[in-house]
């Protein structure tokens, strides 16, 4: 517990904030320093932090979290259409509606645990997805997706006499247009707030109760704790995080489609969390960043780029190499994702954060007198407690 002192948490938070705000600088060497990708990092980071509050702390594996992301997106676009192009109401309503939706689904799903809970959430998400495509078309605009129109009422805007530009308006923050970098910084600030809240939750007595649910739910109820409202609160909070992420997706690109709710999208956030390290503070964000980065880089590759990369090799060597690697890039990016998923679950169930902890331990042990067993216990504890 001494690793998670308020001082250490403050340092962690400060470093995190600086790293996020300085992202355009340090991502440049990776070729990721453009707002479209950077804001994806931030948005999916938020999604994964929220998912981690449920899965990482309580151990409830939801396979339907993309539904809340979708609700957030639809709500935000509707706020743009009906109220105003200011992003604050869109984000606010996105979070609230996703929270209400999560409360309804959580109320039913949390009656079961384990794999039954997973299947219940999956069933609810699939229902939402199927309905969004069919009966709810008036709300979702079906396959085309919900988008802005010049003829949208935007009641608040017209009430306040905000001038409507020719063509489609873009989202703004009190008149300040959110396009390109401003849009990224808006998402970045949201990510920092989301991270801070998650840090507070994790370190609070409430967070301790959530970890106790994962550890031994049975003991917890014989200890006088009603576990249902705790799990419920965690579910709703993580649903609201997903709603925030969804509404930010709409802020960066005012369009919402049902495919965001598909269960493979739910699987993606599970992967992000596991890849980075479920139950850790930074892991899920790291996982989200890595997956979005490689998705972006790898899916842009094709055989021609591969050939140019390996052009220095003789043909008899580069051709088969390109043929094999070609499987994993471009359209085959999903294959890389699936393989990565397996490798992580098989070899590193604690995710990259656990890998890092192990590495640190290894280097410590190599030092002549530094690596005591106390160190090992300490870092193991730290891993569990969140850092």
């Amino acid at each position: 517990m001494q690793d998670n002192t308020p001082r250490n948490d403050l340092i962690l938070f400060a470093c995190f904030s600086i790293a996020v705000l300085a992202m355009p600088l340090w991502t440049a060497p990776f070729g990721a320093d453009y707002p479209d990708l950077l804001q994806k990092f931030a948005i999916y980071g938020i999604f994964a932090i929220g998912f981690n509050i449920l899965f990482g702390l309580t151990g409830y594996l939801s396979f339907g979290h993309a539904a809340f992301l979708g609700v957030g997106s639809y709500t935000a676009v509707w706020a743009f259409k009906l109220l105003t192009m200011n992003v604050l109401p869109a984000v606010l309503f996105g979070v609230i509606f996703a929270g209400i939706f999560a409360a309804a689904i959580g109320f039913l799903s949390l009656r079961r645990t384990g794999i039954y809970f997973s299947i219940l959430t999956l069933a609810f998400a699939q229902m939402s997805y199927n309905l969004a495509y069919s009966v709810l078309t008036p709300l979702t605009n079906g396959e085309t997706g919900l988008q802005l129109r010049g003829t949208d009422p935007r009641l608040l805007d017209s009430l306040l006499g905000v001038a409507t530009p020719d063509g489609l308006p873009s989202p703004n923050l009190f008149g300040f247009e959110l396009l390109g970098y401003p849009s990224f910084y808006f998402c970045a600030v949201m990510l920092i707030i989301a991270f801070y809240l998650a840090l507070r939750i994790t370190r609070s007595p409430f967070g301790t109760m959530l970890r106790a649910i994962k550890s031994n739910q049975n003991r917890l109820s014989y200890t006088g704790v009603n576990t249902r409202p705790y799990a419920m609160a965690a579910f709703v909070i993580s649903g609201m995080y997903a709603g925030l992420a969804g509404s930010l997706l709409a802020v960066t690109d005012p369009l919402a489609g049902a495919e965001r709710m598909q269960w493979t999208a739910s699987g993606e956030v599970v992967l992000m969390t596991i890849l980075g390290g479920a139950g850790t503070m930074l892991g899920p964000i790291l996982g989200a960043g890595i997956i979005k980065y490689f998705e972006n880089i790898f899916s842009a590759f094709n055989d021609a780029t591969l050939h140019s990369i390996f052009g220095f090799l003789p043909h008899w060597l580069s051709d088969p190499l390109v043929a094999v690697l070609g499987l994993f890039v471009g359209d085959g990016w999903q294959l890389t994702l699936g393989a990565l998923f397996m490798v992580i679950v098989i070899f590193l169930p604690g995710g990259l954060m656990e890998g890092a902890t192990r590495l640190i331990q290894l280097t410590r042990r190599k030092r002549p007198d530094g690596g005591s067993s106390e160190d090992a216990a300490g870092s193991r504890r730290a891993f569990h407690a969140g850092e």
Partner: protein
């Protein structure tokens, strides 16, 4: 004064009668032992007290309130704590956290959205938990993960988790099962020491050495019925008890 009254409790599992008209009265401040051969219904009876099972008929009254139909956390909140046969602890949390959780549950009730305070800022809770860890002799391991403890230590940790709540009634399901003689003696000493706090205890036990060194009163359960009840000395001489055990234990 009696703290727990059990009246005409029946419980069947798919036609099999596990408890048959059980009546039991536990006096406040007493150590009340329940003994009996395997399958006599001892654990079933305990499960009826803590809300894991609901009796088919009959009443269980604790301090004037009925426990029947209440869920486990409600029963704990009125002051009943339980130590399990195989220790139920939070394996991947530290010992300190293990004891802090019941302390928080006692202070904040069954649910509190206490998400803004820092858990390491809860000085009073930490101090109380540390104090209890000291009591059971685990203070030096407060930052170790509970999974790494030996079985005997796990049991002592579980005991600390129950005691930190200052329960009015403590249920102990075979507190020395699978322990070495030395560990057993240490546990008896510990139980005697906490006996001084005046907590009422119900103990299920096979080890007669433990039973006779602790209990004020003993109930003997066989085939779901209480066949004898009385002071340890009375029970020792009771022929029905010896018959029930068929000489299986040295009384």
């Amino acid at each position: 004064m009696s703290i727990l009254q059990v009246q005409n409790v029946n419980k069947s599992f798919s036609g099999l009668r596990a408890l048959n008209n059980v009546n039991l009265t536990v006096e406040e401040g007493h150590v009340h032992a329940i003994i009996g051969p395997n399958g006599a219904g001892k654990s079933t009876l305990l499960n009826c007290f803590v809300g894991r099972l609901t009796p088919d008929t009959g009443t269980v009254t604790f301090n004037g309130t009925s426990l029947v139909g209440k869920s486990p956390h409600e029963i704990n909140q009125v002051g009943v704590a339980r130590v399990f046969q195989t220790p139920e602890i939070f394996g991947d949390l530290t010992l300190l956290e293990n004891v802090m959780i019941p302390t928080l549950a006692k202070r904040d009730g069954a649910f509190a959205l206490n998400a803004w305070a820092r858990v390491d800022g809860e000085r009073a809770v930490i101090e109380k938990a540390e104090h209890l860890l000291e009591d059971v002799g685990l203070a030096d391991k407060r930052d170790v993960l509970a999974n790494s403890l030996s079985r005997g230590d796990k049991r002592r940790l579980e005991l600390a988790m129950c005691l930190v709540q200052d329960p009015k009634l403590l249920l102990l399901d075979e507190p020395t099962a699978g322990m070495s003689r030395a560990d057993t003696n240490a546990t008896i000493d510990l139980l005697k020491r906490i006996g001084e706090r005046g907590i009422t205890k119900i103990v299920i036990e096979h080890d007669m050495h433990v039973v006779f060194s602790l209990a004020h009163k003993i109930s003997v359960l066989a085939q779901g019925t209480v066949i004898a009840e009385g002071k340890p000395d009375d029970i020792k001489g009771d022929p029905r008890v010896q018959e029930a055990y068929l000489g299986g234990a040295h009384l």
